[in-house]
Symmetry: C2
Subunit: 283 residues, 2 copies
């Protein structure tokens, strides 16, 4: 059976055709433009493939409450024209097959859970630290959804005492986690892209200070067996070790952590976790 997947991102869309085993047969990616233009391109790609189901991992916040009038609609987003766009409605018009919709991070989490570094555990959390920060959770094969959707990047954490002069980059909360630790926040604080700050240790110590707090919060609340951190900012490979160290220090023995190197890890699917997970949403 052929299954379609869409990784609907704010910057780019990835569409792919694959199967139940995580194989990808055809794949395309293009920049995210206006909603209908973008969805036209999606339709064009799948027109050549006899898919029998379609899974979508979407940027957000997206309304995932099936009882809601705006189910499948993109909610508050700074992206022009996308705010209040009925993504699922448009897809339903184009595709008369079963559709599965979830957040981009839940899809990525499911991808790693089924085919990647989460395939030996029963629950995992996937955190992406890129332009924004988001996280998704899979337990026993199911993605976690609340009434609506979770936007875990917007939690509040303690601000670093060397960072009090920074007002944060989140347009809603200022100094929420995303406002303090996303790639956008790094750029706003230092006036330079993260990649240009690679050799500045202080930058990554502060980054790890925030990420470790977020991971502590996620861990004490959700207790996942594995925590996968991906996204552009994590290309700074040295971050993993400092995050682990900070996390253990913060935890201070309260909850047992058997092996922190196996608890906090990098993704393993080389940027295909999102699209493979989108396909897997339909299974």
């Amino acid at each position: 059976m052929l299954i379609g997947g869409i990784e609907a991102g704010g910057t780019k869309f990835v569409c792919a055709v694959g199967d139940e085993n995580g194989n990808i047969i055809d794949k395309v990616s293009f920049l995210t433009r206006q909603p209908d233009e973008t969805l036209d391109e999606v339709k064009k790609f799948f027109d050549n493939h006899p898919i029998e189901a379609l899974g979508v991992g979407s940027f957000g916040p997206v309304d995932l409450n099936k009882d809601s009038q705006s189910f499948g609609t993109i909610l508050n987003t700074p992206k022009p024209k996308w705010k209040n766009y009925n993504l699922l409605g448009r897809l339903k018009k184009d595709f008369h097959i079963p559709l599965s919709l979830d957040t981009d991070v839940n899809a990525a989490c499911l991808g790693e859970y089924k085919y990647g570094i989460g395939s030996d555990v029963k629950s995992c959390l996937y955190i992406t630290v890129g332009t924004g920060i988001g996280a998704g959770l899979v337990q026993e094969g199911n993605t976690f959804q609340g009434k609506n959707h979770s936007e875990m990047g917007h939690i509040l954490v303690q601000q670093h005492s060397d960072d009090f002069s920074f007002n944060g980059s989140c347009p809603y909360h200022g100094t929420c986690l995303e406002g303090l630790a996303s790639g956008t926040a790094i750029e706003a604080r230092y006036g330079k892209k993260g990649i240009l700050l690679a050799d500045d240790e202080k930058v990554w110590e502060m980054e790890a200070f925030y990420l470790a707090q977020a991971i502590l919060n996620y861990f004490v609340m959700l207790s996942p067996e594995r925590i996968i951190i991906g996204g552009g900012v994590m290309k700074q490979q040295n971050l993993y070790a400092i995050v682990r160290e900070n996390f253990l220090e913060l935890m201070n023995g309260y909850l047992e952590v058997e092996n922190v190197d196996e608890l906090i890890v990098a993704p393993s699917l080389e940027d295909e976790q999102g699209i493979k997970g989108a396909i897997a949403l339909t299974i």
Copy 2:
């Protein structure tokens, strides 16, 4: 069918016999002493009742991972003799009937979900602000459990700028939420019990500052339809209004909150949510 319930608290134990509809037929409560003494008393109470199942909502942290060797054991606790006590093991020896074990806060949450102020929604979170802080989540009738258990009271939040001199009361994390906002924290900060500070507005403004942050974190992560806050500290009734106000301010329109007065509420079962929920765990 008669069902037993135990609300196993660090200060007191409540045992009750009830039915599937939330009715309580007999109830007893006694102080928590040494583990085996306490469990002797539990056995004595139920010896007079032909219960067919037993549900337990326990203080914690308690190991809820069914794959773990220490499943059903109390983990890190400052309570002497209870650390590493195999609660479920002892109950299994005394009761040869189906046993259901969960955290005290999950049980309380289930009680309100089934019989109280959560009975008209699909998911609710129950937060208790007492000697410590804990929270439990129920979605579609099921309590939420991670690999192990969640200890949501120990999340990190931003410290109030007037509070930087306070080191927090959590023995593990200092200034985690519990360390900043539990009844114990209030007493440590001001040198007086909360009840004696009733007329000091600043105390409750700071308390609401922390609780609202925690609720924001819980809300963006778990997206429950209703958030019930109970526990001794919430006897300070005026807190509800300030917490709601602070929460909306922090959210700043990011996620829609239809009606904050229906989102953030007080419990409705007059201290029976825990024991009714414990009984309901078996259903």
